[in-house]
Amino acid sequence: MQLFIKISIKNLKPRQLNLLQLEESLTKSFRNSFFLVAVFLVAACSPELQEQAGVVERVANPVETKFEKWYEAEHKEILETPFNARMQFDPSVRLTYRYKEVDWSSYKKLNLPSKFEIYEFEFLASNVVVPFDFKEEFGYDEALKRSKQTLLIFAQGNEVVKSYVIRYYFSGEKAGIADFQKVNYDAVDKNWKGQIDLYSLNEIHLVSFDMVIGQVIGTETMKLGSQDDIHPSQSASTTCTTIWTEGPCEPIPGETGVVCYDTFTTYCYNSSPPLISGFPFWNGSGGFAPGGTGGPAVQSICDFDPTCIPYPDSMDDAEVSIQKLIEGITDPEQRRKAQLDYLRNRGGSDLVELVEELINAGGLSMGDIREINKLVESVYLNQKARFLMAIFSPENFNAILFLVSSDISTTLRTRVFTFLPNYAIRQGVNILIPLGKGSTGRVVARNIGEQLAMKAAMANPKDGLILPITINDSRWLGWTKMQYELIGLDGKIYIHYVGKFENGVLMYVDDFKFITP
């Protein structure tokens, strides 16, 4: 029987075929790394690792003294109580425990959403654990340079509430290795790619975060349970929920198109009492139990649930404050500006630039401005509500296309068609943008159903049909007449448009219109 169930929680939406390759290459090295992990002890600190101490905040602070005793006690207990329940795990999913000396004078106080104070300490001796595949991929020496481990402590006053060993494995460009060493759990660079593993202090692997462009695209939790029915009391109480999160998108280097990192995340926890379920419980001095020596009975599930671990670089309180501030602005123009600033500072500068271009060229009606404000609001809400920022997602792009079928002036519509393609090309957004050569029919939607149909057609023109009729308009000579159908609550809605093909693939679109006058 396998005591742990490794819950794979990374899946992709079918549309992300492009991602598969990248995902595969990313996870090939890591997916089973836990089971293949090898412990490599470094006899002495390498110069690179010794430099780690310099990258974190050095503050002469009594913080170190209050944690030092706790850490030594934990170490003693782990060593002295081999039959402690927290050691009763399948050895294949637990690393060999080794003492890791902490540099108590070098730490960073993290800004993560938690009621606790969170500190990240460097380890003095590296004792780096390098997954076998990671070593295979980069070679031992480079793998070491690409690895880093720290101690994360959640504290309330002088009490340690919980703690983790964090292991960072950087698999990005070689040039980024130096910067990688500066990574902290609350500050993951946007170029960061790799895996962040969290272990309990006694080396039980709790969770892994797969990171791309500094954002979590997948997590894997290592959870206790039973894959068979030998211990029904363990599996019966395991509860899982799955959440799909649309992830960030980025252009595919050297190619057209965009790759998106959508994520299915499954959170599971075992609601059995920890002792029965076999969750790692901490009954030592301090430990997981607030207040000191509390045994398993007083532990809250959350204390043992890896989902209670904040994501790397997750949103802090300041972020929430900014959002509240923005949402408190009632003046539409001020609100739009604040929302644009918000987006600009979070990687959405191209989108902001586009919106500003649309507005600054002047000549817009009040209705146009109102629709632009709606667009900005929509993108802002889309972005701020999620942990993963997907500023360049097709979803946001569709929001701009939505604008086109709104009741806007021809001036604004033409302007959108003029500016949008540049924006799309720059971002590698894999959506065909109408060229805006002109319009031969009604483009303004009469109702929400029509607006949705237009949005769907513009977003998915490749799902339309070629009609067996020729276009004689000189603006689209050699183009093909096409039709897109959407079945709504009020019946069918047809959108006609024109398309230009290359080798059977639709390459350009234009003149989207409703076929009913």
Binding site: L465, P468, I469
Partner: protein, 146 residues
């Protein structure tokens, strides 16, 4: 002529392609990608109001939900193959703007005599052309009932 729809997607038509298309985004000879959806519904019976020969396939002229559609014959099975006695046939000449996409039309008088009839019905949804279509359809239905 009555037909029953048995498929309505480009994917359904893939086996009828002359050569295998692996890229779902590629539009095949029926003018459809794998993701394309035709405006007909599976299981529904349709009265065929015309048969046309396009550049690379043959299709029916039918209507669904008040919208006149062209759809490849392969999307249907024939339930009644009786052709109305007044149908005519016409081959589009080189001067016709829709040649070679459209090559020949078989159907009621107005459909065949007007070289732009198909465009008016499915492209422009021109009121007069549509009215003639539905009037004709009604007449065929009444004829059949009698």
């Amino acid at each position: 002529m009555i037909v029953k729809c048995i498929g309505n997607t480009g994917q359904f038509l893939r086996p009828f392609e002359y050569s295998m298309i692996t890229n779902p985004e590629v539009f095949g000879r029926f003018g459809a990608s794998a993701g394309s959806r035709f405006g007909v519904q599976i299981g529904v019976t349709y009265r065929v109001m015309g048969i046309f020969i396009a550049q690379e396939y043959q299709g029916y002229l039918v209507d669904d939900g008040g919208y006149i559609q062209t759809a490849p014959c392969q999307l249907f099975e024939i339930l009644d193959n009786t052709i109305p006695s007044d149908w005519k046939f016409s081959v589009l000449d080189l001067k016709n703007p829709h040649y070679p996409l459209l090559q020949a039309v078989f159907g009621y008088e107005e459909l065949v005599s007007d070289p732009l009839a198909i465009e008016k019905l499915i492209g422009d949804m021109e009121e007069t052309a549509c009215r003639i279509y539905f009037r004709k359809k009604l007449a065929y239905e009444q004829e059949e009932m009698e």
